[in-house]
Each structure stands twice: as C-alpha cells, then as structure tokens.
Symmetry: D3
Subunit: 223 residues, 6 copies
Amino acid sequence: MTLIVINPNSSETVTAGIDQAVEPLRRFGTPIRCITLTEGPPGIESQLQADLTIAPMLRLAAAQPDASGYVIACFGDPGLHALRDQTTLPVLGIQESAVMTALTLGQRFGVIAILPQSIPRHLRAFGAMGVSDRLAGDRALGLSVADLADPARSRNAMVATAKDLRDRDGADVLIMGCAGMAQYREVLEGETDLPVVEPTQAAVAMALGHIALKLSKRGNEHA
Amino acid sequence: MTLIVINPNSSETVTAGIDQAVEPLRRFGTPIRCITLTEGPPGIESQLQADLTIAPMLRLAAAQPDASGYVIACFGDPGLHALRDQTTLPVLGIQESAVMTALTLGQRFGVIAILPQSIPRHLRAFGAMGVSDRLAGDRALGLSVADLADPARSRNAMVATAKDLRDRDGADVLIMGCAGMAQYREVLEGETDLPVVEPTQAAVAMALGHIALKLSKRGNEHA
Amino acid sequence: MTLIVINPNSSETVTAGIDQAVEPLRRFGTPIRCITLTEGPPGIESQLQADLTIAPMLRLAAAQPDASGYVIACFGDPGLHALRDQTTLPVLGIQESAVMTALTLGQRFGVIAILPQSIPRHLRAFGAMGVSDRLAGDRALGLSVADLADPARSRNAMVATAKDLRDRDGADVLIMGCAGMAQYREVLEGETDLPVVEPTQAAVAMALGHIALKLSKRGNEHA
Amino acid sequence: MTLIVINPNSSETVTAGIDQAVEPLRRFGTPIRCITLTEGPPGIESQLQADLTIAPMLRLAAAQPDASGYVIACFGDPGLHALRDQTTLPVLGIQESAVMTALTLGQRFGVIAILPQSIPRHLRAFGAMGVSDRLAGDRALGLSVADLADPARSRNAMVATAKDLRDRDGADVLIMGCAGMAQYREVLEGETDLPVVEPTQAAVAMALGHIALKLSKRGNEHA
Amino acid sequence: MTLIVINPNSSETVTAGIDQAVEPLRRFGTPIRCITLTEGPPGIESQLQADLTIAPMLRLAAAQPDASGYVIACFGDPGLHALRDQTTLPVLGIQESAVMTALTLGQRFGVIAILPQSIPRHLRAFGAMGVSDRLAGDRALGLSVADLADPARSRNAMVATAKDLRDRDGADVLIMGCAGMAQYREVLEGETDLPVVEPTQAAVAMALGHIALKLSKRGNEHA
Amino acid sequence: MTLIVINPNSSETVTAGIDQAVEPLRRFGTPIRCITLTEGPPGIESQLQADLTIAPMLRLAAAQPDASGYVIACFGDPGLHALRDQTTLPVLGIQESAVMTALTLGQRFGVIAILPQSIPRHLRAFGAMGVSDRLAGDRALGLSVADLADPARSRNAMVATAKDLRDRDGADVLIMGCAGMAQYREVLEGETDLPVVEPTQAAVAMALGHIALKLSKRGNEHA
C-alpha cells in the first residue's frame, strides 16, 4: 500500500521537487508516490484556480487503487475536506500539516508566501484552523513571475522575507508557503537560525504516522 | 442590470422558495433573477458536493451578461472567493451575509443546521470569518431525509431546534442554515420571540446595497 | 415611513455630508431623513463626549413619529444598544455596519481614525463585536485640528494613512473611521485600489434591508 | 483624600450594602465614601438605563473635592471610560475589576446575572475586555422582580445558579453580577466550594492599590 | 540513535502500556526506548506533582547518550519547554502532539480527562497553544481512584465520557487525556464512530517525523 | 500574619529592589517580607531555569509559618499553580497580576522584556491567560549582559523600547517585564506619558486585597 502525494498543479518540476523533498521519509517503509494533476494549471495563484483543481483531483485520487493515504500538495489545501468526504483513508493537506508541525517548533509562525494575493487565502485558512493567535506574519516575496524563475533572486527574496518575519514580526518558526521549494529549506535555516517547515515534508510525515496508527475519519458518507 | 441569485443545487423548488423569499427586496428597484444550477446535486450535503458545484457555478455566473452582482445561495458559500476572483462585480454568499446581518441583531447567534455533518463545515467558515466568539451554538434538526419531506415535521423540528439554541445555548438571534426555507421564518420568530435571519434575504439585501454603493473588490486577476 | 439618520454632533456640515453620501440609496424607495443633534458637541472626540450625546439622542429619536428605523451616525455608535432598548424598530450604528460590510469585501480591515485617542475606543468596540482577528490596523491621520480644516491636507493625510494600512498592516479593505467624509471615498479607492467603506452608507444600506425584511429585535422592555 | 464609590442607582439600600461589603478594606487606611446617584433609577436593568446614568454620574463625581479615586459600582460599568476621560485620578469599574480579580482565582469564570436581559450586555463587555475565552458561562437567576424581594428565594436561586455554573459550565471561580448582594458571598462559597468575587470588593481593592501606587491614565483631555 | 520516551510517573505499568501503544511505529526504523522516571509520583494528579518531575526528568533525559529525540509522556507536558532549552534534539510533548494531530482529524476536539482537577491545567495549555476555539469540551471520568483500578469501570466511564463529548459538546475527534490507556482506543472508536487520538502514539509519530526531517529548535542556550 | 514575597533568583540586589518597590503598600497594614531563593540562579533567563526554581521555592514557601499569602516575584510566574496546589492561602504571580492591572489602565498593553528569548515564554503565558487580543507588543531591550549592568544604558534602552511599544505597536499601557527595576518606573512614565505597571507592585497590591477579602482557591488537594 502506498501514500499518494498529489501535486494539483501541472508542473512536473514541482512534482519532482516534492518527490525529492520527501526522500528522507521513505525509510519509514511505506512507498510514497508523487503524482501530477495534468488538468491543473501550471501554478495555483488564486482561490479560483485552486477550486477548479478539486474535481479532477478527486478523480485522480479515486484512481489510485493501492492508496493507503493521500497528501494534497498545494499550500491552500484545495479539496482537503472534499477528499476526506470521498475516502476513509487518511488525507492530509500541506498547509494544515505545516501549521500543526510549526506549532511544535516555535510560539509564533511566519509564512513565506510566493504571491501577495495568496495571503488573504492563507488567513482564511488559519482562521478556520483556529490558530490565528499563533501567526506572527505572512509576507510575500515581492517578486515578479520573471524574477521567480531566477533561482538566485528567489533564494535572496526568500532569505530576506524570512528575516523580516523573524525581525519585524517576531516569528520563531517559519513555514515555506508553497510546495516545490524544499531545496531552499537548508539555506533559510542557516540564514535565520530558525526551524523551517517545508510543507510537503510535514504532511507526508504526518500522513505516514496516521497510516501506521490507522488515524482517519471513520464512516464515509460518499464512498 | 440585474442581481443574479444562483441556487447551486438542482432543485427548482428551492429556487422558487428563494425567489419568493427575496420578494420584499424587489421594491429596491434592481431586478433580481434567481437561477438554478442544473449540474448541481438535488441537495448539497457535504463539502465534496459543495466543491463540485464550483466549476459549473462559475460558468453559469459568467453566462449572465446583464449581471450587476451575484449571490451564491447555498449555506456554505461554495465558490464565494473563486467567483470574487472571476469578477469585479459584488459577490455575496448567503452564509457570510447571514452572519454579518445577525451580528447587528443580537450578541450570540444560533444556527439551525439541516444535517449534523454540515456543522463542522459551518464552524470552519465561522473560524475563517473570525466570528467564533459570537457563536452561541449550531444544532441540527435531527430529522431523516424522509422526515424532512414532511412540512409539519420540518416545522416542528425547526421550532424545537430554535428553542434549544435560545434556551440551552443562549442565542439571541437565529440563522436558518439553508436556503429555501424562508416560509418558516415567521413561525420561528413567533415561537422564539427572537429575530431570525433567512440567509438568502440577508445576502440579497447586502448585495443590493453593494451594487448601489459600488462596493466590491477592485482589480481583477482573472477577468 | 422614513429612515431617520441622526448625526449626534451639532455640525450641520457633517449632516449635509451624510445626506449627500446616502443619496445613491434613496432610489430604494424609503425616504431617508438626516437630522442633527443640536445638543451634541461640534465634534465627538472622546468617550465622554460620545456618552453625553446619548440622552438627547434618545429623546430626538423618540420625537420622530414617522420613523421606520434609525441610523446613529457617529463612528463609536454612541447609544446604539440604548436605542435598541427604546424601540423595536431597526437600529443600526455606522461603526458596526461598516465593519460587517467590510468583512464581506476583504479579509483584514484597516480603519482610518481621525484622532489617535479614538483608537482605544474603536478597539473596545471591535472586541465587543468579536472581530478583532479580522482587524489589520487602526491608524490616525496625525493632523492637528487646524490641519483637519484644510481639505487638501485632510485628503493627503487620508491617502497616506490608507496606504500605510494597506502596505504596513496588510489591510485589503478600508473603513473611514468617521461620518461626513464620504467625499474622499473615491480618491481613497483610486489611490489604494482597495474597496473603501464609508460608514454612513454602509449603515443606511443595512438599515433599508432590515426595514424591508422586518429584521429587528423583537419585544421591547422600555417602549 | 478619599476613594469615592458611586452607586449609580438610587437605592440607598444598595449603597448601604456596598458600604458594608467594603468594610474589610477600610483598614488599608484610605477613607472610602459610598454615595448614591439620586438621579439614577431604582435599579439598572438595561443598557438604556445604564447609559442615562452617565451624565449625572459624571457631575456627581466632579463634585467630590476630596476624591483620590473612583469606583463605579454598577455591574456594566456605565460611564467607566467617560469618567477616565474626565479625570486623571484612578477610576475602576466593578465589572472590569471583578473579572480581573477572578482571572487570578480560577481558569474559567462564571457570572451570576440577576436578569437574563443583562447577559448580552455582559458578553459585549467581556469581548471588549478580550477575555471571552476565559468565560465559562453567564446565567441569570430566573426570578421575577417579586421573587427578588424575597431574601430566601434570592439566596436559593443564587446558590442554584452558582452550582449550574460550576457543574454544567465548568466554572472554577464565580462572579456576582451585581452590586449590593455581598451578604450572599459567604453562603455561595460554602455551597460551591469555589472562590466567589463580589465586584464592589474587587474594585475597591484594586482602586486602593492604584491610589497607593499612583496608577492611572496620564494626561487629561477634558479636565 | 534512539527516540527516548520518558514516562514522568513511576508506574512501570504505565511505561509498559506506552511501550505497547507505540509498537506500530517501530517499523519506521528508529529504535524507541520507553523509560520510567523512578523519582516521579505513582501518578501525576496536579500541577504541583507535574512541576516536581521536571528537575529529575531533565537529568534522566541528559543521561541518555544515544538519544536522537525525546517524548515527554505525561498529558500536561511537564518540562516540555525546559527540555527544549536543554537540548537541540527534537522534543515533543504528548498533549501538544495529541492536539496537533487531532486538529487534522476533526473540527472540534474533545478531551477525556481522568480527574476533574486536571481540566483547568488542560485549559491553560490549550490557551497557550492558541487553540481554544477548536475545543469542544474537556470532561472527567467521574471515577474514584478505587474505580479507576477496575478495568471494566474505567472502560465504561471512558465510553460514557466519550459519548458525552460527542453528543453534548459536539466533538468530532477525541483525545485520551492521559498516557497508558491505549488499550481502550479501539473500543472508544468503535463505540463513538469518531477518530480517537492516543497521545503517546501521536507524539512518537511526530517525533519520528521531526527526527527524520531534522526539525527542531536551532541553537541551544543551555547545552 | 505576613505577605511573603519570594524572589526566585538568588540576587539580594533584586530582592532589595522589590522590597523598596512595594514600600508604598506597607501602609495598608499587612507586613510584607521579601525573601530570596538562595538555591535560585543569579537571574532567570529561560524556561529551564524558571522550572528548576519551583521545587526549592515550594519548600521555601512552606517554611514561612507566619504567611498569610504569597507573591512569586519572577516575571514568568514559575510555580504559580504549583504553589496554589500546595496552599489555600492567596498566591499571586507578578506576571499575571501585572497583566490584570494593566488591563484596567489601557486597551493594549506593551511589555518591556529584558531578553529576546523570554518573549515566547511571555506569549505562552498571555495565551494561557486568554488575553492575547489585548497585547500590543512584547519587545526586548536589545542589550548584552554587560550593557545591562550599566544603569544609564539600561535606562536608555528601557525608554527607547517603551517608546517603540507606544509608537510602533500602539500600546497605551506598559508593563515592565521583570522584577527589580522599579526605580525606572517613574522615568518611563515621564518619557512616554503612559501608565507603567511595575509587576511586583501590582502583585503585592492584589495580594493584599485578596488577603483582606479572604479570596483564594478553596479546598486543598496537597496540604
């Protein structure tokens, strides 16, 4: 049986990044398969795009006969509760898992958002999670799409944003607010001296625990 | 120009009920057209069903050339923020509007839910709205689907639930947690002596105000 | 029957500004009469001044035989709950209504306060409303009374404050924290590209909805 | 110099009860004078009545030349912030002080309200204080005015309400939600085995501390 | 390298129960050693007893040369932050981990407390975690110490308490509020049809994830 | 009978400072004895150090036969609830009392922390108290230990930090986040024009009130 990690955007590069990010968790023994939602957009930049991935994501999830659990690998957790309605297997979202993990690592978490328009979406999610009082700040990189394609600029912007979250907002733990950027985790930790939560790692770790412990919603209204 | 009220379930009866509920607001002068999402399920009973209405609802909304604003008439507000991404016209959800209206009518609001499985969904929404401290309680009718088809049983269950919200939970304003039941509002007010917010009425009233005042998100990332 | 909008300060200029601000809502069909509390101070700058308007405001409200509802047009909502005790007609406050309206337009609201000493008063009110988690920030113009009399200075300070709320505090919707400044709404929206809620407009729109829907506290302990 | 305790209702019996309640604090050395607002109503049962006491209460406070601080002895704290605007001397309200005292005695406080219509008023105040998460419950005695005049019935209802707050709501500290009932404090503690805060005692104790430590708002906009 | 699970009470039976509870997580590959704090009391029933375990617990932790991480296995998490000060290795508490795990399994968590006097302690912890809005209820078994020694009575009381949390408080996920009772998890899930979090399982799962991902506080003020 | 004030660090200088700070409260008539925990560290800079003071502090408290109440004079309130378990006498912590006092003096409190690593500890405590919404900010002095020994540097850093809390964070009341610095209170009030709460003064004032009013936890599980 296999943990299925679904990247709801269509970027194979992002899926490959996720696959590499979760490598340290493969020694737990459960196979982990990272798959791409080909119907998804190249990147998810709005609630509109996020919501439109749900229907094909649910179909893709249902088409994995060896699944023993799922991770939805988009910060924003599109379709998280819908998939929990569709299956009784464990389902984790990377945003929710990143927050729950961060709350064990510091008192106030800071979020590095890629785009400023994602921040209200994050705040709605943190409100729904009931953890707003633990949020230090949520700051966007301030890069254009062109800049984001430049690794050095991305890296520098992430470090600068991380330091703002630490120094201006008082964050003592950081969350990377998107999938597929795990390669920057180490440099962020080194530059800020704070623990940094990469959300796909956090969700896969929690999912493997849930699978091992048979922790999931019981009953299934829509199976 | 017309306010479009979209019933995301496929029940024409519900749409007709909404149409009648908003009748007192037609004298404000803006035409109000209530339409049915034929692709929707007969009733929306889960986050899964709610999320699956979003894509066709967005298409239906886009196909209304005379729209001056929208109301999404399902308690749960599926696609609310997605439609706000799609258009710069005012977009109101009946859950959000019902809560904002109730907060001007009492200190603690009680919600009459049709089904118990909807309550966690409501609570996530109230958390995202940041109004959890104003919630007195959210109680389900406790009826089977068969019972719900019986008007006398529905009415009695709504009155009993409303009284529980008032007497056990301390609610001093009530929200009807679904569309299409406006015909019970008067009896609920009479039986409880509390103000009762019917959510489609609340949303249409707010939408007409927003249209008149040109209040909506500015800019449009996805037009 | 008429919606009565009471300006609790004695400035006829402010009343005239309110009257003009609500003009777009007159086409809803209900007459709107804006009246001045002659016993009020020229401007309300403290809780002390606000509280002292309540007794004469209640008398003025009671002396409007054609009233079908009331709006108290001072940010701070002095006497809001007292007037709700005095009458069973709908009573809206401009602060409360502005917040409820803003919560449908953005995730975090910013407030433009005229004077710094008003901010603790606002914060108490937002706490009582249970919406503190949605507040991005509340910032004062930083003008002397002399500066406030200069329209160009006021306008510039409002724009600068609005931009601070957006850029420093993360507000995505703004509330003008006083009555009588509706003429600046358009420039604020243009300069910030954010929706801006003018509180008397918000309250009158909600009041007209409440009147049409017969939404108000039932029962009346002091009629 | 003297601490002035103002009973904003016109009942000399209540004032006498307050005077007796604060007797154990007289040995702190500061004279305590309890005075009655003759313009007040016999009892304060609504926000309307509370607000109407503010103007004469402010005048009464200003007419105490030997004041070194004030306590406003009505649960609801009418005029608390107005009087803080009027004077730079320490000003305490009995509701606020009772809550702050209770928070040092238990994790969740329960409030014994006299009348059910007071509860929304209390909840607004607890929200403004930002302490709603510490509230276990607020329950009314459920007595008619006639019953309230009967000491045995009052006593029994207070004990029953206190036990409900402890057993149903989980309160581990209780607040008496009105002035003038200090004589029941001992029996309530005995019957519930919980600490019970009598609000005029709590406020006078805090006021004496503030006076001794010169703790009060600095500056005075309206002196 | 080994994950060290410290039972801060002196009961070898409890330690054995923990050891068995975490068995399903041993296949993740990291050795897990459960040890008993012999200086601890037989059971931890108060903040006083909890606090007194900290000093010897810290010494015991420091004496484990092969540690790659720690779990403090007392609901109440005594010494959690102190041990995080003492080491840079991952340190998880079972209360904190149980809550973070539960928040991925339901919207409102219910806690089964052994003793009523533990509840205020729990509430302080949930407040410090900032998750009070997600708490449905915290209820004690209502058993005497003698009753607790009787497995049938304990089991029955746990089931009854679990059902109260579900039916009266609206919990949709349950947390067992103590270590060493994992044997009842299955029956609780069966009887309530809700997911049940056993806290030592939750903490060990999270700790193994943290170890694999090198997630812990960086820097070490007291090493 | 005597109020015992325990300084849990071993610095006699700090104890002497506390003794002087509470001098204005000696005229209340209850003797106040300030004692030093000789087993404590010279200063308490971490949760680890704080927790390790609890066991000897409890012994020291138990060894005061004339005690009528206790104050634990370390910001962080180590052992506060443990000592409340050990005795039925009133027990106040200086952090808790400072916050409760500050909440009667302004709407948003700012905290002057000595060391940055104390801030997460403070935030956990404010969360446990349920008062996070009233916190404006918590800022550290930014001094090295060497700098702290220099009175002029300490004073200047405190003033600068206090002004940041007022001007950047919107604090309208300040709390000194440690014991033994009461000598700076006056200058801070003068420089900021805000009320400043010195925590040992606040706690002793509240303790004297509790003693006079016989306010404390009833029953005693561990006497």
